[in-house]
Amino acid sequence: MVSVADLLTDGRLPGNYFAQDLYVRGSTELGLLENRRGDRLLAIPDALLQAIYSGLEKETGQASRLVLYNCGRWWGKNFYARFCEELADYYKQPLSSLSMAEFLQSLQQCWKTHGWGQIHLDITYRDRGFLGVEIWHSPFTATAPQGQKPAGDLERGILEIFFSQLTGRELRCAQTSCTAKGDDCNRFVLGLEKRLQPVEALVANGQAHQAIMQTLMQQG
């Protein structure tokens, strides 16, 4: 029998930890924006992102994508640790006993609340060992140089590390569509390096996301 009293741990009913109006706070007198735990947040203007892209391009040329990707990985490592810590604190239980639905929904809400756009998982190709991620309204590719190549290298880095840590496997991430080259959103595919190898050439060829996925599925 379901006992309603047992569903309430200490009378608490943990829910949407990252709800925007709860999560973003601040000690405005000191000039600080903070999250609900008191960790510092900051607002990055579009112009600064643009400046970073153009500065990198000027100083490092082709290497700028690699630099951004590595920054993304660094960011991802820290983000994963902090994200897990915050959730474990809030739910007052080890993360391993949190359900996957709550974990992933928290990730989506967290992404939104920070203003990084909407993140969605696409599990269509799960049986073939691939995980798809869509990011809509990304501020990072909106300010990136527009061109023929995907420019979501920061996001590629953060996703790669985040899901590697989550699954405990060394995953790679490839970007198959990008708003910087006129697509509707940023799409990424995560999988083991060996299986993901053909993607880079397909992307360089200008293939669309659907076509790339089809090719990946056919490789068996």
């Binding site: 309603v4 309430l8 949407n16 799960r126």
Partner: protein
């Protein structure tokens, strides 16, 4: 915090509140005792209201225990947020806090069918506890929560990952 009267309190740099604004404020203030009474009842009878619903969902409707547990948990959450929204006279509160959360949980655990019945039972149960006037205070936010939970339109689902 989202608060319907925020717009009133936001405007000292514009002008003094006019007679209309003040009457909105005084209507709200005079409704507070009733709102607090409803709130107290919900707080103190949370379990008493919800336990018969849980029993009915499991015994009469025959839904499996994990689904009932999930649905009742959502129901408790809805009731708590609706209670707060009623206290603040702000049904936008429910939407803002639950939007990115509850609909996704409903989809992930596939509880729509149970939730539908839960809402019916909840309204019946609340009608036993509150007068029609009191119930009217709660209704807007409950309706909002219900439509949030039962119209889950987004296409991406997490269910397959579980």
């Amino acid at each position: 915090m989202t608060f319907k009267l925020d717009t009133l309190f936001d405007s000292p740099d514009k002008q003094y509140l006019n007679a209309n604004d003040l009457s909105v404020l005084s209507q709200y203030v005079s409704s507070i005792p009733e709102r607090m009474a409803v709130y107290r009842t919900l707080r103190d009878q949370e379990i008493a209201i919800m336990q018969p619903i849980a029993d009915a969902l499991q015994q009469q409707a025959g839904h499996p225990e994990p689904l009932v547990e999930r649905s009742v948990r959502s129901g408790l959450m809805v009731l708590r947020y609706a209670a707060m929204a009623m206290l603040l006279d702000d049904d936008g509160f429910v939407e803002e806090r639950l939007q990115g959360w509850l609909p996704e949980m409903v989809k992930a655990y596939e509880t729509q069918a149970v939730d539908q019945q839960l809402f019916q039972l909840l309204m019946q149960q609340l009608a036993k506890v509150f007068s029609p006037a009191q119930l009217n205070l709660l209704k807007p936010s409950l309706e909002k929560a219900k439509s949030l939970m039962l119209n889950t339109r987004e296409t991406v689902t997490l269910a397959g990952l579980l």
